[in-house]
């Protein structure tokens, strides 16, 4: 690495200052972090720096989630700074989360000085070893001369291709010693040229894809998080394609917002808790166009019966996603936005016309499935149905530019089902890893990036308590995050699976000893609200929205409500449970071993 700098004129500055200079060069505005012995030189440099803001979290896991929230709501790289040893190990869950959901994050970890590495020194951990499998790439800096090049490459790797977390482990002596810095504009190119993932699609694959699309009678577009990660242009292109074809479109959990929820072609989310019409359209289609999704097991259900009659086209920036779970007819490696552009222009070249008679019939069929109203629920008495709570929250916020984060569990699925996302980058949730405790710190990151926007963490009482120490951070920076807790006093998704699979033996899934959330809010100087009855709900939501600062709203919901519709584990898309009436015996023996 060091030799890359040799061609350029450099000046010597202390490693920690050089690091901040590199961050400034990358237009980093904010760092989420927590100090400790090994990173003291960086904190000292930060003390003297007035361009980079630092948000002091209360736990390193939260720093990574906050950076993820920042990254996903802006499209920029989120930056984390933690110390060696426990600082680094605490960050591991966040890094894994960012890897699974392809979120660009650069994590700077302190390390014991190079001469102590390997001696089991105080707060030493083999950070580069521990995080090798949970980062897209990582570095241990062993020579000062490498520092600038490594930082440049780290940012490039984090945001280029399929985005992901990159970690730089920084021994304390490297931070204190002088290191060479070059402000030559060519250094960027020099430092980043060994990683160049494929962005532009293969022309032949595009032609093959269009040939298949032209034959489609029962098509479906299945979009995922790759569209969001590609940037606004990709979502615009998706909308263009949908309008040009008139084809039904479904989105994954990670893709919500890529097509406006209000678009008439949108069938809702697909997969385990997706809509009946989306899943049946996937099952019965003859041509499937997957744009930036990865055939995740939550989406496919039983692999052997996944969309058995369709020809499949898969667009993905990561070649290893193609033919991983599902064998496809045409795989196109490239950036979702660029590929959609190429696809649309090739469709025009090949004078593509949707088959309108066949399409009309297909929509008739889809509308029949739609008429089952799989998301219908009954709000009959005063006990608040969780679906009703989310629906009201959506209704009362939809004229605002609202950002939503969630934790993991039933509330997450209800949010995905009942909250409409009409723009990309407005929905931040832990999809791949399913990290409880993601939503609250992620909401902080979103709020830091968008100080004047409405940011809501839709939460469950169980997940909330996994990172509730961050209330202190929220309070310190007066981040006006609205925490909307669907409180059923259960780890609801665990309880639901125990009901469906384990004979209702509710082992360890009851949320005992919950705090009084109103008083809890009070101790952190924020507003606490509670809604016990359906008739309270609108008032509580309105009060929450009118409050300037942070709010915890404790929404006491129906305790034993299950999340439907549901593809039971081990079943296919056409074997959905629509409600409590058909849940009896729905899960096969082989399905029970699946998670």
């Amino acid at each position: 690495m060091a030799e890359k700098l040799q061609k350029y004129k450099t000046k010597q500055i202390p490693g920690a200052e050089l690091l901040l200079k590199c961050l400034e060069d990358q237009d980093v505005e904010v760092i989420f972090g927590y100090p400790g012995g090994a990173v003291l030189p960086i904190y000292d440099a930060l003390f003297k720096n007035n361009r980079i803001k630092h948000i002091l979290v209360r736990h390193e896991q939260a720093a990574v989630h906050a950076a993820e929230g920042y990254a996903r709501s802006t499209g920029k790289v989120g930056v984390v700074l933690v110390t060696s040893g426990p600082g680094a190990t605490n960050a591991v869950t966040g890094l894994t989360d960012a890897l699974m959901d392809s979120v660009p994050v650069v994590c700077l970890t302190g390390q014991v000085p190079t001469h102590l590495v390997g001696t089991d020194a105080f707060q030493e951990a083999d950070t580069s070893g521990i995080t090798r499998q949970c980062t897209k790439h990582n570095y241990l800096v062993t020579k000062s001369a490498d520092l600038q090049v490594i930082v440049l490459e780290a940012f490039h790797v984090a945001k280029t291709g399929r985005p992901g977390p990159v970690l730089i482990d920084l021994p304390k002596d490297i931070l204190m010693l002088d290191a060479p810095y070059s402000n030559s504009p060519e250094i960027q190119e020099e430092a980043t040229k060994r990683y160049y993932p494929r962005i532009n699609p293969d022309a032949k694959a595009i032609k093959d894809a269009v040939r298949i699309l032209k034959k489609a009678k029962k098509p479906i577009i299945y979009g995922g998080g790759g569209i969001i990660n590609s940037g606004l242009k990709a979502s615009e292109n998706l909308e263009k394609l949908v309008n040009m074809t008139g084809w039904p479109t479904t989105l994954t959990l990670m893709g919500l917002g890529a097509l406006p929820a209000e678009d008439k072609h949108f069938l809702g989310m697909l997969g385990m808790h997706g809509t009946y019409e989306a899943n049946l359209a996937m099952y019965n289609c003859d041509v499937m166009l997957n744009v930036g999704a990865r055939f995740d097991d939550r989406v496919t259900g039983k692999l052997s019966e996944f969309s058995p009659q369709s020809e499949k086209i898969h667009i993905d920036i990561d070649g290893s996603s193609i033919n991983k779970n599902i064998q496809v007819d045409v795989g196109i490696v490239g950036d979702a936005g660029v590929v959609l552009d190429a696809l649309i222009s090739e469709m025009k070249t090949q004078s593509f016309e949707p088959n309108s008679t066949a399409l009309e019939k297909w929509w008739q069929k889809i509308n029949e499935w739609r008429s089952r109203e799989c998301l219908r629920y009954k709000q009959i008495n005063q006990v608040i149905k969780p679906q009703f709570a989310i629906e009201r929250l959506y209704e009362l916020t939809k004229n605002k530019d609202t950002f939503v984060t969630t934790e993991v569990g039933q509330h997450q699925m209800w949010a995905a089902q009942y909250f409409g996302f009409n723009k990309p980058n407005r929905w931040m949730t832990s999809g791949g890893l399913g990290t409880m405790g993601y939503g609250l710190p992620a909401a902080m990151g979103v709020q830091v990036a968008h100080p004047n926007s409405l940011v809501i963490d839709i939460s469950g009482e169980g997940s909330f308590m996994m990172n509730m120490q961050e209330l202190s951070t929220i309070s310190q920076y007066n981040l006006p995050v609205k925490i909307f807790i669907l409180n059923n006093e259960w780890l609801g998704m665990v309880r639901q699976w125990q009901e469906l699979i384990h004979g209702g033996r509710y082992s360890q899934s009851y949320s005992a000893s919950l705090p009084d959330f109103v008083k809890l809010a009070d101790t952190f100087g924020m507003t606490g609200l509670v809604a016990e009855y359906a008739s309270d709900l609108d008032d509580v939501i309105n009060k929450m929205l009118e409050t300037d600062g942070p709010v915890i709203a404790d929404i006491r919901i129906e305790k034993e409500e299950n999340c439907f519709p549901m593809i039971p584990s081990g079943a296919a898309h056409n074997e959905m449970i629509l409600g409590p009436d058909d849940q009896e015996g729905a899960i096969s023996e082989s399905g029970k071993i699946l998670v």
């Binding site: 399929r162 990683y195 993932p197």
Partner: protein
């Protein structure tokens, strides 16, 4: 539905930057995803450009092999992945050092077999030899099998290393 039946053995040749952790990345990829490594050899091949070549023999269905190739390609320090088994013609060789301890007729017989396998004697004592044998893995295995029937044997094998035939050269950059 993916094929889970046809298990094949493939030799992959991977050109990587010679930097700390690169082997751990490659090996971790296999162990983390439950893929097999039948043999692995690695060494620096270009000191100036700081590149190493890793030759790895793995087994799996064609989809799994393709998956491994793709996963290796996306590692940052990996410059090139070549599936020698699937690609253009190539040669593969393996080297083994075989120590045998025996006496009398067995000792004479092992020497005769070593000669027919073109094995070289690297070391000898009154009741032992160390042979060096090079060739295709099957040949090396056959030699070891024969030696085992003639005395006490200890073996060190390099694992397969391979390269394409013809005038094509891999260049980094």
């Amino acid at each position: 539905m993916l094929d889970t039946q046809n298990i094949e053995s493939h030799t992959l040749s991977v050109l990587v930057d010679d930097e700390p952790g690169v082997l751990a990345r490659v090996v971790g990829l296999f162990s983390g995803r439950g893929y097999n490594i039948e043999s692995l050899t690695v060494s620096v091949v270009d000191k100036k450009k700081k590149t190493s070549r890793i030759s790895v023999v793995t087994t799996g269905t064609p989809q799994v092999i393709n998956q491994i190739e793709q996963l290796l390609s996306r590692l940052i320090p990996v410059h090139k992945v070549e599936d020698l088994t699937n690609g253009s013609p190539h040669v593969e060789r393996e080297l083994a050092l075989v120590k045998i301890v025996n006496k009398g007729d067995s000792r004479i017989e092992s020497l005769r077999i070593a000669d027919s396998f073109r094995a070289r004697i690297l070391d000898s004592s009154l009741n032992s030899f160390v042979f060096e044998v090079t060739g295709a893995s099957e040949k090396v295995s056959a030699f070891i099998d024969l030696m085992e029937s003639l005395g006490k044997v200890e073996v060190a094998r390099t694992g397969i290393c391979g390269i394409t035939r013809g005038n094509k050269i891999d260049l980094v950059d």
